[in-house]
Amino acid sequence: MNAFAGTGVLTRLALRRDRLTAPLWALVTGGLVASGPGSLGGLYDTPAARAELAASMTANSSMRAFYGPVYADSLGGLTAWRFGTFAAVLAAVAGLIVVVRHTREEEETGRQELLSAGAVGRRAPLTAALLAALAVNTGAALLVVAGLAGQGLAGALALALAVGGTGMVFATVAAIAAQLTESARLAKGLTAAALGLAFALRAAGDAGDAGGNSPLTWLSPLGWTVHVRPYGGDRWAVLLLIAAAVVLQTLLAYGLAARRDVGASFLAARPGPATGRLSGAGALALRLQRGALAGWGTGFLLGGLVFGGMAEGAADLVGDNEKAREIFARMGGQQGMTDAFLATLVSLFGLLAALYAVGAVLRAHGEETSGRAEPLLAAPLGRLRWAAGHLLPAFAGSALLLALSGLGLTLSYGRDAGPLLGASLAQLPAVWTLAGAAVLLWGAVPRAAGAAWGAAGLCLALGWIGPALDLPRAVLDLSPYAHLPKLPGGPASWTGPLVLTVLAAVLTAAGLAGLRRRDLRF
């Protein structure tokens, strides 16, 4: 077992480094599901109301696209339907971040070299990373069991294993990606792309088949999560499929890891030009960020095309269903199911664009702390111009992303070209507000710059699942997205967007003023 020597020490190191984030991921993922019975029970307090909800949701193809079909109208079954997919996506994101952080990122920074020079087996680093991911997913799964045990232990167990298992499926995908690329950023991007593809396959499959039997959903690990049908028959065999995928992918990752050197990868770096044409800070920042922007842009365009095609199905819903209307209205729309569906989509793209924008702003923070900004700022380059180079891809890039998703929706929905594009771009003020908050944190309190992710994540959670939790208005209003008009369909109001745009400008200016005054961080 020499190849695994040192695994225990490395695992403890990983958990020690993640002592804050790992419990947080588990808490958010597991706690979200655990809160389901309480919040849904308050909203749909009679069996009749729940049966009606289940029937209307399963009848509606666009709702199936988001959440999958409803397999049981018990509180447990509705919780699994409403939160299962979202929790599985969260578990997958946590898994991919943890695994890449403790494998490729360690190699990229050169820290692994020092560790591997100790009594550390060849398989130990990867094993430790997977164990750390397993710890996060186990924590989340235990919370799910604890929160849902009251609704039936078997179903709780099935849902917990489905969510945690999906997390491990993508953790092991990340383990493979980490062998393929030299860059941690790219390894995360590849795994995130696989996750996006899995979501799209399941969404398209479930939208097209009310029984949940579309072969497309069987191609997607997120489809497997739904196929487990917690509280709706508890199909344990599907869990075996998830386990088999985890084992096979783990073996593949080990196999790839054994065939390469520390620090090396299968997609090797090619030489670059011997002379450069980068004309300055702006060109450099654009060059550094263009890969991410291209990846996000492709995702937004494809996402728009896929989901725009499903919009027609939203109107399938039987017209006299009060509860369904209510939940649609709560999810962002006011008139017409199609408009509501499109408005939900548009706001979803808006929320995702904030993740890109925050990442792009914090890229400048990463340049600073990694020491790459130091010689740049020792050259004749003012801090504001340097910062502007990174803020341009963040602010203009998020506008481009929303335009692309709007374009995709327009093309595949095929009607009302102008309004959909406009509705997408109307999300910008909220995106910019979050980006501005990131600038402020970075410029004024750089130690806490990472909190910008927390702000974006909070808005995402409030926007995606907040309405179904029936949270008080004051809490929902914390998110800048709550102050945007619900488009298409809703009344176009300019006050909210205008106020948010001014707020974004103020936040950004304050952040830049802080950046000018403070010490650089090393």
Binding site: P273, A379, D519
Partner: protein, 299 residues
């Protein structure tokens, strides 16, 4: 002669850590100035204040006649900086980085000069940032700095990771820069490099300048080792001023003496009759060890 750099009473704290505690530093235009001190003495912090990357808590700092915080961009046009630990963008080639720094300075690099430096440093400019070794990353920054022909070169342990041949090339480049009238601030731990390049040195310890002057002046301040065999046992040697660690073993004597107090010691030895005598001037190593070791004793 004007000063390229004048720092007096510079203080800088990070929380409760006093990184700089009244640092003084004067570098005359056209000189190569060695900036020395043990690890953690505050050398890099001082350089970052000089570059306007950190803001001084108190003290005065003049760099090329300006204020490095307020006039950062204008001053940076006239200087080039090489950090001790160069980090590059993983997907940009060394050549791209060199040209980027040239363009940032506003005056594109002279292609012949750039090519000559790349040749001399044996750098492959087509490699991407990630594939360079530590020494090669240093070379990228060195080529960018020397190719710029800036008035002032600020070099923070620039040769860490360079092999001896490249170290030689580096020293040639610094001498050429001095011959063209450029000013160099060189922070370094490599004593042979300091000895062969620097006109003057400043030694910092715990954020404060402890010695400053030419190497000859500094040597004067240190001790000479004397070993002698005498005709008769000496008398009263340990009472002479400036004598340290005298070991008298019959007619054999070993002692250290402050170099400026050498004469009375020699007179005392002569009085006892000298059979043989060796006197060793302090090496640069001893000079630094004394300052660096004091630091250990004090902390």
């Amino acid at each position: 002669m004007t000063n390229a750099l004048a720092v007096t009473g510079l203080h800088k704290s990070f929380g409760r850590t006093h990184a700089l505690d009244g640092l003084d530093l004067t570098v005359a235009t056209g000189e190569v100035h060695g900036f020395l001190g043990p690890n953690g003495a505050g050398k890099s912090t001082a350089i970052r204040v000089l570059l306007g990357l950190l803001r001084a808590d108190s003290g005065t700092v003049r760099l090329l006649g300006g204020d490095p915080w307020a006039d950062a961009v204008a001053l940076h046009r006239r200087l080039a900086y090489v950090p001790g630990d160069v980090t590059l963008w993983r997907n940009l080639s060394g050549g791209e980085v060199i040209d980027l720094y040239g363009r940032l300075r506003g005056t594109p690099l002279d292609p012949a000069r750039r090519a000559a430096l790349i040749e001399r440093f044996e750098l492959d400019p087509a490699k991407k940032g990630r594939s360079y070794s530590k020494g090669n990353r240093q070379k990228v920054a060195l080529v960018a700095a020397f190719a710029s022909d800036a008035e002032l070169l600020v070099l923070d342990e620039p040769t860490s990771g360079l092999d001896p041949l490249m170290e030689e090339v580096f020293q040639e480049c610094v001498r050429e820069a001095r011959d063209r009238g450029r000013t160099v601030l060189l922070s370094s731990h490599i004593l042979s490099e300091v000895e062969s390049l620097c006109d003057r040195v400043s030694i910092v310890r715990r954020g404060r300048t402890v010695e400053s002057g030419s190497l000859a002046e500094l040597r004067h301040l240190t001790r000479t080792s004397v070993t002698a065999e005498l005709a008769a046992p000496p008398e009263g040697l340990d009472r002479l001023p400036g004598v340290h660690d005298p070991h008298v073993d019959g007619r054999r004597v070993r002692l250290q003496v402050d170099t400026d107090k050498l004469e009375p010691v020699l007179a005392a030895l002569l009085a006892a009759g000298v059979r043989s005598l060796t006197s060793t001037p302090p090496t640069l190593e001893e000079l630094f060890l004394r300052h660096y070791a004091d630091d250990e004793a004090a902390s």
